[in-house]
């Protein structure tokens, strides 16, 4: 007797933003469960559309896929917020969960992707591929936080594998390629030069024509580090900036990452 195989979830979310009568609207959205997008929300007269992305299944299970595409037409401005942390459950079948995010930012558009935490549970397998393409004059601010597992339950780097690939292209040229591949069984993540005492990894990516004007030394000096948090900021090729955070404590890392995120958002 063979068990009936569970059908994998394949969440899909395709969002297109465009400026209409002074505000950015999301006239085209395709959603397939468990992914879902809220309607556009606005803060006062700010034309930026804020959209919440929801994952109604509660988390990804062995072999599940999430495919998200985001396209900002020329001149549109959007802020996307994940409603909750992304949970990746134990891979009981050995299959990998995949999250693919493709972003296309056309001329003079602006996207902010607010960081939420990715939590790979014990024995989970997760792969995320994020590709962002920017046209001339487009602005990006992107944040991401990876947890070691459900730390409060003592689950620290107990996942099977986690692969994260982030590619940023500006006008068709690959500007940054950040690729992490953590397989805790084969890798002493706490070794010198790796994560050391840190459990959480945070990243911010910024692309803006105003990037050159940002005083990175000032950003660096204002970073509230120590007490288990380390952080750095560097200039990428082109008009881009990258910040990395390595922290022992989730709350502390998240607070500081969000503070730097807002500080940068105000500058571009």
């Amino acid at each position: 007797m063979s068990k009936v195989a569970r059908r994998h979830h394949n969440g899909k979310l395709d969002m297109v933003f465009e400026p209409r009568r002074g505000y950015t609207r999301m006239p085209h959205v395709f959603q397939q469960p468990p992914l879902k997008a809220s309607r556009e929300l606005y803060e006062g007269k700010d034309p930026t559309a804020t959209v919440f992305v929801m994952e109604s299944s509660g988390g990804m299970v062995a072999g599940d896929r999430n495919d998200i595409t985001i396209r900002l037409l020329p001149g549109s401005k959007a802020r996307i917020i994940q409603q909750s942390a992304l949970k990746v459950y134990r891979s009981h079948t050995g299959e990998t969960c995949v999250q693919s995010i493709d972003v296309q930012l056309e001329e003079e558009s602006r996207l902010e992707w607010m960081p939420e935490v990715i939590i790979p549970f014990a024995d989970s397998k997760f792969q995320m591929e994020t590709t962002i393409r920017l046209a001339k004059g487009a602005t990006l601010l992107w944040g991401e936080i990876i947890a070691p597992g459900r730390e409060m339950r003592g689950e620290v780097f107990d996942f099977s594998s986690l692969k994260s690939m982030m590619k940023i292209y500006v006008e068709e040229e690959l500007l940054a390629f950040d690729s992490l591949h953590f397989v805790p069984d084969n890798l002493h993540l706490n070794g010198l030069g790796l994560l050391e005492e840190a459990l959480y990894v945070g990243s911010i990516w910024l692309v803006s024509e105003k990037a050159d004007e940002i005083d990175l030394r000032a950003i660096h000096e204002a970073m509230n580090v120590g007490d288990g948090l380390r952080a750095g900021v560097t200039r990428l090729a082109g008009n881009a900036v990258h910040c990395r955070f390595l922290g022992v404590n989730q709350w502390r890392l998240q607070q500081e990452l969000k503070r730097v995120f807002s500080e940068l958002a105000a500058l571009i």
Partner: protein, 246 residues
């Protein structure tokens, strides 16, 4: 002229043993006195030294081992191997892609600049010594500012046009990189000469194992898990006093 060993029944058929002159040429370009400026780069190690995190031989070896296995193996070494193959195939488009990728994976500005500075010094030093149309073409692209000229890519091309096997190109690069780091640590920490010698002696075995790993990797394996070192490279820019430029 020495013949390349193409005998497919040879036990070492996957790797062509360097000829005597190729062996000496490799020794020469990896000598610490070869003027490409390796002695000025610490790739973030100086940040660790200033944080007092590299005080013992064991810590030095741990740092170098992480740099070797997590940064070089899955970064420059794969790119050398791929550039070597692309140069053998005379595949310019592929080399341009690898050149771009080499810059994109080096997120910390100083590591990226180091790669370009070493590359530029390397080509200046070796170009009077190499007679090869393909190598010249790559050199002209750098001169014309069409490309940056990352060291790993140039070095892969150099070894390919001189018929040096990719395995020895990678092995000697890995060894000379950690050897350079240890030499710099001996000056900066400082350590006694014997500590340095003993560290390099041990790291040589790691370089052999690492080169063995690289042989089975391709572009899709590129990654960088050495986040502590990368962060240290990012912070190095803002250190108050520095011996090294990265």
């Amino acid at each position: 002229m020495k013949q390349q060993n193409d005998d497919s029944s040879n036990l070492s058929n996957t790797v062509a043993i360097p000829t005597d002159i190729q062996f000496l040429r490799l020794l020469q370009i990896h000598d610490s006195a070869f003027p490409i400026g390796t002695y000025t780069q610490s790739y973030g190690m100086e940040t660790y030294i200033q944080d007092d995190a590299i005080r013992t031989k064991e810590e030095l070896i741990a740092f170098c081992t992480t740099f070797l296995y997590q940064n070089l193996v899955y970064g420059d070494a794969i790119l050398i191997q791929e550039a070597h193959k692309a140069a053998k195939d005379r595949d310019i488009d592929r080399l341009l892609h690898l050149e771009n990728l080499c810059g994109a994976i080096k997120l910390a500005k100083e590591s990226r600049d180091a790669s370009v500075n070493l590359g530029r010094q390397f080509i200046k030093t070796v170009s009077p010594l190499v007679e090869d149309a393909f190598f010249d073409e790559w050199k002209n692209r750098i001169a014309a500012n069409e490309i940056k000229g990352h060291y790993a890519i140039l070095y892969g091309i150099y070894c390919a046009v001189n018929n040096m096997d990719a395995h020895y190109a990678v092995l000697s690069y890995l060894f000379s990189s950690v050897n350079g780091l240890v030499t710099n640590a001996v000056r900066a920490v400082p350590f006694g000469q014997n500590t340095g010698v003993q560290a390099v002696h041990l790291l040589a075995e790691e370089a052999v194992a690492a080169a063995g790993l690289v042989a089975g990797l391709t572009e899709k394996d590129i990654s960088n898990n050495a986040l502590g070192i990368e962060l240290a490279s990012m912070k190095h820019e803002y250190l108050h006093s520095r011996l090294f430029i990265s």
